[in-house]
Amino acid sequence: MRSRTVPGACRRALPAVLSVGVLALAACGSPAAGGGGGAGAAGTPRSGGTLTYAVGTDVLCADPQQAGNGDELAAARGLVDSLTAHDPDSGKQVPWLASSWEVGEGARSFTFHLRTGVTFSDGTPLDAQVVKGNFDNVAKLGAHAVQATSYLAGYRGTTVVDPQTVRIDFDQPNAKFLEGTSSPSLGLVATATLAKPAADRCSEGVIGSGPFTLERFTRNQQVVEVPRKDYAWAAANAAHQGPAYLSSLVFKVVPQDGVRSGGLRSGQFDAIGAVGPQDRQPLRAAGYQLLTRAVPGLVYSLNVNVSRPATADPAVRTALRLALDRQQIVDTVLGDGSKAATSVLASTTPGYTDLGPKLAADPAGAARLLDGAGWTKGPDGVRTKDGTRLSLVAVWFGGAGPVQTSLELAQQQLKSVGVELTLRPIAIAQAIATFKAGDYDLIDGQGSNADPDILRTYYNPQGLNVVRLPAGPLQDLLNSQATEADPAARAQQVGKAQQQLVDDGYAIPLYEATGVIGLAPRVHGVSFDAASRPQFHDAWLS
């Protein structure tokens, strides 16, 4: 996952491609993750200094509404503020540019009361009109802003109630919109930016109300940001309200794991994202801080194509689940800070249900199950039934990296119970064609999103449907949770969907995607947002 990435322009062209991009980029060990709390918060923050943060994936666009991968979003995060913030510790939405809000009956209408005194960096004030302009514009950006538009499904329009009050209406219930308002994808930009063409916004950046303004953007090389002196409206869960402490913040694109960790050790970088498994222990031992946090959304799973002859047998799917030793994969391939999956959703996702006991390794049980189902071992050690060999093709996107290594180990684990696994890497450019052709048994991938609705994107017959499932009860669950206004009822439906995906063996969870940031000892106050991406407003250097 590491260095091979999707060309951003291509990813933005097609909604489906985005999801594929996310799936693949997972392998690129994209954004950061960390333990929710800030790093090295001890001491009194002091102002000044340049923090250089090296990221692993391409940074092609400086517009948060169009950004596709986690590193682009992290770089654009400081430029804009959002209506709400998602507090990673409590899991709740807290006030930011909206000081309060009401959700209408059935999650069809959302009214936000705006904070006063907020200005964009060009001096224009934040008011209801500019908020309306932003949502109307995102709807128009369409394919350029896949992530952002995904939060606006069924968007009817925005009404300016009064200069400080705005109401957004949907034709259908939209349970994840409130979560969406906290993401940088729906971060608010000034009217001057709204007038610009999408491509110019990518290359020139946006005018936002965030703690940083863009000084220089060099596509796929670096992003230089400087703080706004008059900033005073941080989110309610931020450590401080005023201007950022840093005198400048630099994002550098450095695809090689080893170069990033070497740069951190040599002092060239103060912080690095996507610390590779091989670098974690040595960095910790050398006195560097490591922040880790599971990336919310779908964990790395083997998604089972149920339309293929062998995997159509539920016993085979259950046996696959039991035969895999997740803990061994984590200990061997991923190391420090990573965790075995306990559901199809990562533990940091709202609505996550702990299915850990179902995911314990039991190779003997798997062998018994296959014996009982009539899959008998042939002379080459591979099981067959009625002439069908238990030989499965696993595909993934993004080439070499931890995903490939984990599959190589999984291949050995499955071999011991008589299942043959063939590994077939797929070029990212061929992702869509692969989904369409469906000539795979298992597809290894992950998807980042701070809302459980990502389940619907991947497993709904109308979505990507990576498991090629016909319409059924799972589809009804996935659709109904998307329109369920009551959070408790929604969590219950999401929980049932996870259970069904695991019980029926449509998805075989392996391990959680983990964001890992390495920080030099002099860096303090860097923390993760709810999407496990780093935030630098509170960061300072000693």
């Binding site: 590491r2 091979r4 090689q256 794991d257 080893g258 960790s261 070497g262 590779g276 091989q278 670098d279 040595p282 061994q328 200990d331 061997t332 391939v333 080439g399 070499a400 490939q404 290594t405 599959l407 190589e408 180990l409 291949q411 050995q412 063939t422 590994l423 077939r424 890497p425 070029a427 450019a429």
Partner: protein, 276 residues
């Protein structure tokens, strides 16, 4: 006297070098055909308990992050790597020789057209062209070999054409023509055998270059499907571990380097030995 001594020393040491190279290549060939003679370990068997052991007794090349024996992986990867280099070299040799022969023999418009085409091929950096081809063809050892082979056609075509131009004016060719032999027969019977020498020498050198190119594509992830070991992909797999497990990239890398050097050394020695 001193001049004589110096000359004899040079001859002897060159002989020793060539002999060492030949001996090493023989081992490599045996490894390609019968890897079991060198190691009885399974190159795919993961033993997490033995992960990242440095080179030592039991594991001459150490183990990788899954606990697989690196020596077994290098030995079992020999066949794939050599096979790919051989395929690439053969494609370039056959296609390039045929084009050069035609070009030199026919002359005129055909010659112009073919040589401008080789100009274009030579103008594009070969690794870049290989990458473009392999992206279109897809992953796999044979596909990578085809991509490398096609990009090396131009060199063979040029050398062959130059030789044909030299030979076709020779008196024996004119004599054969005058005796009434047909052009194709003259081409294959007289021109080709006499133009062949430098091309053969170039082919030996090209084999080494192909091995490097194929390994480069393997390094970039376009080679054999995992977990099959292949020299280039073994080097790539170890690069992130360079700081903590130096042997993962270094030892497969040295194997590639030693093989390329040995082939080059032999390629330089062979024409001398064959010279009448």
């Amino acid at each position: 006297m001193s001049l004589l001594t110096a000359t004899s020393v040079r001859v002897r040491s060159a002989g020793a070098g060539a002999l060492t190279a030949a001996g090493y290549l023989l081992l490599v060939l045996v490894a390609a055909v019968a890897p079991g003679l060198f190691t009885d370990r399974d190159p795919l068997a993961a033993r997490p308990a033995d992960r990242l052991l440095p080179p030592g007794s039991g594991h001459p090349f150490g183990t990788d992050e899954l606990g697989r024996d690196l020596f077994a992986r290098v030995v079992h990867g020999t066949a794939l790597s050599l096979e790919a280099a051989a395929i690439a070299c053969a494609i370039a040799l056959v296609l390039g020789t045929a084009l050069g022969l035609l070009s030199g023999a026919l002359g005129g418009r055909v010659d112009e057209l073919l040589m401008r085409a080789t100009d274009v091929l030579l103008a594009i950096p070969s690794l870049l062209l290989s990458l473009a081809l392999v992206t279109a063809l897809g992953f796999g050892t044979v596909k990578a070999a085809v991509a490398v082979g096609v990009t090396s056609v131009a060199g063979f075509a040029r050398i062959m054409r130059a030789q044909v131009l030299r030979v076709r004016a020779a008196p024996y060719v004119e004599a054969a023509r005058a005796a009434g032999a047909r052009w194709p027969a003259v081409l294959l019977g007289h021109v080709l055998p006499n133009a062949w020498g430098p091309v053969r020498g170039f082919a030996a050198l090209q084999f080494a270059t192909s091995l490097l190119s194929v390994s480069s594509l393997g390094f970039l992830g376009y080679g054999a499907a995992p977990p099959a070991p292949e020299w280039g992909s073994l080097v790539a797999a170890g690069q992130n571990w360079f700081a903590s497990a130096w042997w993962l990239s270094t030892l497969p890398g040295l194997t590639v380097a030693a093989t390329v050097l040995a082939v080059n050394r032999l390629a330089a020695a062979l024409p001398d030995a064959e010279r009448p």
